[in-house]
């Protein structure tokens, strides 16, 4: 709070903390615990502190209107040993606490050769939560440094630049511990060897793993995200934040048009799309996902989706086999499926605000009829080709 107020130009903004959580309490509880309680930071009575803050005269510093230039620090570190540099990066909060590839000039130069864009070109900006925290901007070179640290091969760099250009943080400051996902479509999937077969969302592929990790390192370092207590407040955290949920669609085996084509891109375009929300889990976690001799997957989806929160809508990550079953049930386009999923029985309000709140993705192998679901909403798509 104090840090954020300072960054917004009021380092001496007056505030009183109250005992959390506030929601879920009655008026009487809040009166006793909060209004008649004390500020857990200062120990002063809450209301006395508020009245003092409203009536104490301003200092000269409080009236200042100058501009202060900020610096992120030196451009380089070292020379030092690999072990000491690994420790330095950890201590400065510039890692995800896993070992990094040290971003030497040589490795960064090799990464930069994988794009036609100049090293000092501004790629975008990220805030730990849009509209709440300040935005930090970053250049192609700064993205390259983080891509090297993540262990990415240079051929992945246009994908990472496209993710960076989206300007979306992978680590939200929210106390909700959100998950983030990348959906990758087009020829780039095969060019860089992304996995969309067995274990597509798991740790079984270098491109999937390092592209996803680069997003989080970029968010931490170039976007000032993930500073626990300052720009990160997730109550329980989210293990998918390390490499995020990377979904290269299995376009070859999917019975439907790919996600990016449905968003208006051409099949030959390489595109990355950003999703955010709660994450995904196996549909077998739901009481509605039952094995039977005659499956009705569309009905299963509808039952599961109607039990989900509205905030992020619903997403299904289907194996090609499940997708083909659904197509054979009469849904030869995703539009038909999402329209049906959205519709509710007559005289009842639809569960979601629109069919657009329901997203269907296809990846993985066809060796069994499993699929994942979750509450994740589409944010935006960015052309990867523009960053080649």
């Amino acid at each position: 709070m104090e840090e954020n107020a300072a960054k917004k130009g009021m380092p001496h903004l007056r505030f009183t903390f109250v005992k959390s959580p506030v929601w879920g309490k009655t008026a009487e509880q809040l009166r006793k615990d909060v209004i008649e309680g004390t500020d857990p930071i200062t120990g002063k009575p809450v209301m006395r502190e508020i009245v003092d803050e409203l009536t104490t005269p301003l200092s000269d510093e409080d009236k200042t209107t100058r501009t202060i230039q900020q610096s992120a620090g030196p451009n380089h570190f070292g020379p030092d040993t690999a072990e000491d540099l690994q420790r330095l990066f950890r201590e400065k909060g510039m890692t995800d606490y896993l070992p990094i590839v040290l971003p030497t000039e040589e490795k960064v130069d090799a990464m930069l050769k994988a794009t036609s864009h100049k090293p000092d070109e501004i790629v975008g900006k990220i805030s730990p939560t849009a509209g709440v925290y300040e935005y930090w901007s970053y250049t192609v070179k700064q993205v390259a440094v983080n891509a090297v640290m993540a262990g990415a091969d240079p051929i992945y760099f246009p994908v990472i630049l496209a993710v960076a250009a989206a300007g979306k943080e992978s680590l939200s400051s929210s106390d909700n511990s959100f998950a983030e996902a990348l959906v990758i479509n087009g020829p780039i999937r095969d060019e860089v060897g992304l996995n969309y077969g067995i274990g597509a969302m798991g740790p079984f592929n270098h491109a999937n793993a390092t592209i996803g990790r680069a997003w989080t390192l970029l968010s931490i370092n170039a976007g000032n995200c993930g500073k626990v207590g300052e720009t990160y407040m997730g109550v329980v955290g989210n293990p998918t934040n390390w490499t995020n949920i990377v979904i290269a669609e299995n376009e070859k085996e999917s019975p439907w048009k790919s996600f990016s084509v449905r968003r208006g891109f051409k099949p030959e375009d390489s595109v990355v799309s950003i999703f955010e929300g709660w994450g995904v889990i196996s549909a077998k976690n739901s009481v509605y996902a039952v094995w039977s001799k005659e499956m009705n997957f569309a009905a299963e989806l509808k039952n599961i989706f109607n039990d989900q929160d509205q905030l992020f809508g619903a997403v299904a990550v289907l194996s090609p086999a499940v997708a083909s079953y659904i197509k054979d049930e009469g849904y030869d386009t995703i539009g038909k499926l999402t329209d049906w999923l959205y519709k509710s029985p007559e005289e009842t309000a639809p569960h979601f605000r629109s069919p657009a709140q329901i997203n269907i993705l296809v990846t993985g192998s066809s060796n069994n009829l499993y699929w994942d679901y979750g509450g994740m909403r589409y944010v935006k798509s960015v052309s990867i080709d523009k960053w080649r």
Partner: protein
């Protein structure tokens, strides 16, 4: 019986390997310098560029809240309305000369509400903003 057999079999194998391991280690030591020098690296900073901070002058403070209008603004966080209405009730009980106006800010918590800001500027003497995230 089985255990004895295994131990018996392994012992001669180890005995056979031990001397050759020692010889190899000695040969390695001969070829290495007395003190190995760890290589040192210079690496680039991964940090982005923070924006300049434009300092804002804070609103002047009244000397007293008596006969003044204090806006209590709710940003929409769950339960914030209950808490802030209790805060208004505290003023009514303990500082009845203060005119309290409760308002729910338009939009989500990060959104601006220019109409409300203008109203407060015109009619208010102070603001208490409930910020939940």
């Amino acid at each position: 019986m089985k255990l004895r057999f295994v131990i018996f079999l392994i012992a001669p194998l180890c005995a056979g390997l031990w001397p050759s391991n020692q010889v190899m280690a000695k040969e390695r030591k001969k070829s290495e310098p007395a003190t190995a020098i760890e290589p040192k690296f210079t690496v680039l900073s991964p940090l982005g560029t923070p924006p300049a901070i434009k300092m804002l002058a804070m609103a002047p403070r009244p000397n007293t809240l008596d006969d003044r209008t204090v806006y209590i603004v709710d940003d929409g966080f769950v339960g914030g309305d209950v808490l802030l209405k209790e805060m208004g009730a505290w003023f009514n009980r303990n500082m009845p000369n203060v005119n309290i106006v409760y308002r729910r800010k338009a939009g989500g918590f990060p959104d601006e509400d220019p109409a409300l800001w203008a109203e407060i500027k015109a009619k208010g003497d102070a603001v208490i903003m409930g910020v939940g995230h």
